[in-house]
Structure formats: C-alpha cells, structure tokens
Amino acid sequence: MASRLVEEYFRKETLPNIWCPGCSNGIVTMAIVRAIDNLKIDKDKVVVVSGIGCSSRASGYLDFNTLHTTHGRAIAFATGVKFANPELTVIVITGDGDNAAIGGNHFIHAARRNIDITVVMYNNHIYGMTGGQASPTIPRYDKATTAPYGSIDRDFDICKLAIGAGATYVARGTAYHVQQLVKLIEKGISHKGFSFIEAMSICPTYYGRRNKKGSPADMLKWLKDNSIDINKAAKMKPEELEGKIIIGEFVNIEAPEYTEEYQKMVERLKVSVK
C-alpha cells in the first residue's frame, strides 16, 4: 500500500522513481497530482505531455494518458493533442533546459496562441539527465560542467518571457512552498488559456554539489529564505530584490482561447455557407 494519492494517480509498478535522493522533482510532481485531485478531474480525460530531461520522466509514473516526447517539443505535441480534442485537460511537464533552451520557440508560440494548455516548468538551473551542464536559467557566475569557471551567460527569466509572449496565466512557486504551488497549479489548470507555472526546484546532485549549496534540506531552506511574495516585493527597492525569487501570480487575464476561436470560426463559416 501507498498513500491514497499514489494509489489513485500513479503507476505503482514504476516506483520508486529514478530521481536522485533529495531531488525536488517528486515534490513538484506530487503537487501537480494534488492539484488535479483537488479539482476532481476525471483522470481518463487528463493528458500529461513531457519532453526530455529529469523532470520529463514524471509522465511515466503518472496514471493518466501520458506522452513522453522528444527534447524540447512537448508543447508542440500537446498543441496537437489539445487542438484535436479540446475536451481533454492537457498538462505539460518540462524542465528549464527542455523548455527554455531547445523548446523556447514552441513555448512562445503556444503562449501567443493562448491555447488552453498548462505548462509546469521544473526549474533546477541545470541539465541533470546529462550530468550537470549549464541551462539558460543558471544564475550568472554559477558553475556547471560546461561552465567550469562560472557561467558568463545572462540567465533567463522565463516568467517574463511567458508574459511577453502573451500567456494569460503566469505564476511562480517553489518546491518548498508546496501548498502555494498546489494552488497555483490548480488555478493554472482551471484557467482557460495558456497557463505557465514555474516551479523553482533543487538539484542537489549536480547544481548543489558543484556550487556548494549543501544538503537537499539546505537547498529547500535557501528557497524558503530567498523567496519573496509578489505583493511584498512590490513595496521593495530593486537592490533589495537582487538575487531574490519573486513568487506568486504575475498574470491572470482573460483572452480569446485558440481552440475556441477555431470553433467559432467554423460556426461562422457554417452560417455564411447556409
């Protein structure tokens, strides 16, 4: 036996998961499951699509319709699934390498279309599956196997990118603030349109060791101590926010949703043909 959530929503024969000890991917995956459970969505109608990387392995453990695709392309596959059958609830599980580097183009265009897909990006600043290379979200001057002297790249704020590309629900949570993360994911799934939730995660094995971040618990504590709620952040000066993680809801707006717009066009055409 396992917990009710595991019994109900996981493929038990695939557990234990392959993630390293202390990896927060399991925490975020369970947060997604809690959100689906809270919303009481029929699991036959849920499709979880993932790309390639550590976090993308989550789809295999989950007892939904699951699609583990190619590197960076999860959102493009998900677009096909959702557009073909808009009744399905489509959730994309992706990572910072999968989504912000190789998958960046699909990400911005899905946001632009405002197609009703919820993307949860596990951001651990590193490519874990391939052994710790720098991702587009690695903090500047932090180290990775491909940035042995510290990364000189500027790091990417993916929430800002999502907002710029037209996503209609954008939020950031962390693997420490689990209750809040569950709520943000719930709201993202309920939201009609393209929803993006960035889940700040920890990779104790590659990112943590190389950058001397301590134990998994230390890394979660760091998330706790360095996260600032968006409402509080609004009252703070830029220099006070330097190096901090702003968490909460950035955008929650209504806009025409892609699959509905297509259906409306079809209805209009039917009328005009008659």
Binding site: A2, S3, P16, N17, W19, G22, S215, A217
Partner: protein, 72 residues
C-alpha cells in the same frame, strides 16, 4: 478520524528532507532510511508527506465512526 504515519522503506532514499522539516523532530535517518523515533510525539501534520520527493512517507487516514473520509 484516525491518522497513522506510514513509511515505505523500499522507496525511501534517505535524503533527509522530512527529518529537517519535521516541526517536532520525531524523524531520523538510520542506515539510509527514514525512521519514526517517537510515535506519541508525532502531531500528524503531514509536512513530511508534502515534501517527500519519493512518496515514501505518508499519513494513512482511517475512516472514523461516522464514516467520513477525512482524506478529501
């Protein structure tokens, strides 16, 4: 309503997250696995389950006399 803390040893990787975030410090890592030191002091808050990356520790909720499922 009765709650019981359950540990799935096979799934536990001994990362120690639950130990650190237990508000009453009743968990420890022994031989690479988590262990409940003192059941009486456990307040069944569920924070360990919330942050366990391996789904290896959880509160089992048993139905009470009225038959209300407290899990939902």
């Amino acid at each position: 309503m009765e709650k019981k803390l359950v540990i799935i040893e096979d799934w536990c990787k001994g990362c120690g997250i639950c130990v650190e975030f237990c508000p009453v410090r009743v968990l420890e890592i022994k031989d690479g696995k988590v262990r409940l030191i003192d059941e009486d002091r456990c307040i069944k808050c569920g924070l360990c389950e919330m942050r366990c990356p391996d789904f290896a520790i959880y509160l089992e909720v048993k139905k009470d006399v009225e038959g209300v499922n407290a899990g939902k």
